[in-house]
Symmetry: C2
Subunit: 284 residues, 2 copies
């Protein structure tokens, strides 16, 4: 007895890969490989569609039968000069159009940071910027996902370093178009992680779940993320928590790694799929 209607979908159907994960591949090559592995989605980094229109990128992805959880990355709202902050908002308005043309469900916002400015003041700038983007985003049908970044990026990449601060901006704006992207790499250490994930689920603010692992020892602050299972993060436990919080979206794999980029990308992708399938099965 078998049939598609009674068969649980292959786990890869809710798996999406960020193009940066297989950076050596161009977009068409990447989505071809992803589709061949039964992977359901591709989150598109802006860098991956340089030199082509968003419409063209959408056709490549659509032809391969993939969907687009996210355009990555918008944000970078922080600057001491108000005119620069305005320019960043304008740039993000353009990204909303790009995301709409790509049929991306959301834009992931890495909110930015300026060395030396108080982080709480910067978080105010971020809230103001997102407040101005949420109307156009809603009109375009593109959600805005604030991604808290690890505290080691607080100086120059993100003034939001825990889920709690992202959640507070969501509460302040109180708009279903604005939520949070939870990347295990950035938040795994947070003593408030479980309660914050539950809370995001309850609030309907848990927009995205990004998977990779924390390598021990980590040799580089930027490009030394590990493949799931090669690090110390309790990925099965976290996947369970996210699902228990009501999350039914994509499981997105996002690995930046000089080491993995030097490998055969097809073999690397196969390992990603195997490791993900094991986590997905254990998480239940």
């Amino acid at each position: 007895m078998s049939g598609t209607s009674s068969t649980k979908p292959a786990p890869q159907s809710r798996l999406a890969i960020h193009t940066i994960t297989t950076k050596p591949w161009g977009l068409a090559e990447a989505v071809g490989h992803y589709a061949a592995q039964g992977i359901g989605g591709v989150s598109v980094w802006v860098e991956a569609i340089e030199g082509m229109s968003a419409g063209e990128a959408h056709r490549i992805i659509d032809d391969a039968g993939l969907r687009v959880p996210a355009l990555v990355r918008g944000g970078f709202f922080c600057d001491a000069a108000a005119s620069q902050r305005q320019a960043r908002v304008d740039h993000n308005l353009g990204l909303i159009e790009t995301a709409a043309e790509l049929r991306a469900e959301m834009i992931v916002l890495v909110v930015g940071a300026v060395p030396g400015e108080p982080l709480d003041r910067q978080r105010g700038w971020v809230a103001d910027a997102i407040d101005r983007l949420r109307g156009p985003a809603a009109a375009a049908g593109v959600r805005l996902a604030i991604e808290p970044l690890h505290p080691m990026y607080a100086a120059e990449r993100s003034c939001i370093n825990r889920i709690a601060e992202a959640r507070r901006i969501c509460e302040r704006l109180d708009d279903p178009i604005v939520g949070v992207a939870v990347d295990v790499y950035h938040v795994w250490w947070d003593p408030d992680l479980s309660t914050e994930i539950e809370r995001l689920g309850r609030d309907g603010s848990l927009f995205a779940f990004h998977l990779c692992d924390w390598r021990v020892p980590t040799r580089d602050l930027l490009n030394d993320r590990a493949l799931m299972g090669d690090g110390c993060i309790d990925l099965v436990g976290l996947t369970r928590q996210v699902r228990a919080a009501g999350f039914t979206g994509w499981d997105e794999v996002e690995i930046f790694s000089d080491e993995h980029w030097q490998e055969d990308q097809a073999e690397f992708l196969e390992r990603i799929v195997r490791r993900y399938a094991a986590i997905d099965q254990q998480a239940g």
Copy 2:
């Protein structure tokens, strides 16, 4: 009109240097230079007194007219095996004796971490270990200062990554011999920093204040700390907060830096003293 009784002490009199800051120097050379600069204290890393007795080290330091805020570093309590955790406690009992012989006011505890073990379980081990050390520490007149480490060290060096978790252990043990060492490098990004510092001050748990700076960009996870003023941390603001919280202890400079260790250490030390004096003056 002038006189020693009405003259504010030179700022260096509350300044202490961690021996690791000028790692190329041996202990005697280091304390000679520190004393010549009018620096009042030296926090002694265990590595700096290898091959000599604690009594001998104390005589070198005492002869130079310096005091010892801290022996650095005890701790590393975490291990999945109970027998290993017992061995770590035993090792720390030995460090308490060393600290007493050095006339160190405290031991700085870097509490340790084991990749893959839940961080909250590990914090329980840490509390248990310190609970067993506090009697002997009190008997020896040596305080125990829990140092929260930056979240980028959560995998393998410290399961305590915010002041809040260190404070909770202090509250649980409720013993004036146990407190917190606040190192700006580890905690500057924490959204709860101001309230936690106030609270430590109120509780009498603010035992130590360590100064350096966060370099932008940071090129290495371990040995790329910056000299005060060369990074993005609001050191004047933090020094003010700590003093407003009632802290009257040492301002300890602790810089690990491959770059600075390659420089002329005497010139580096002069820069440290100048930068510190500027912060001290502005903080008031």
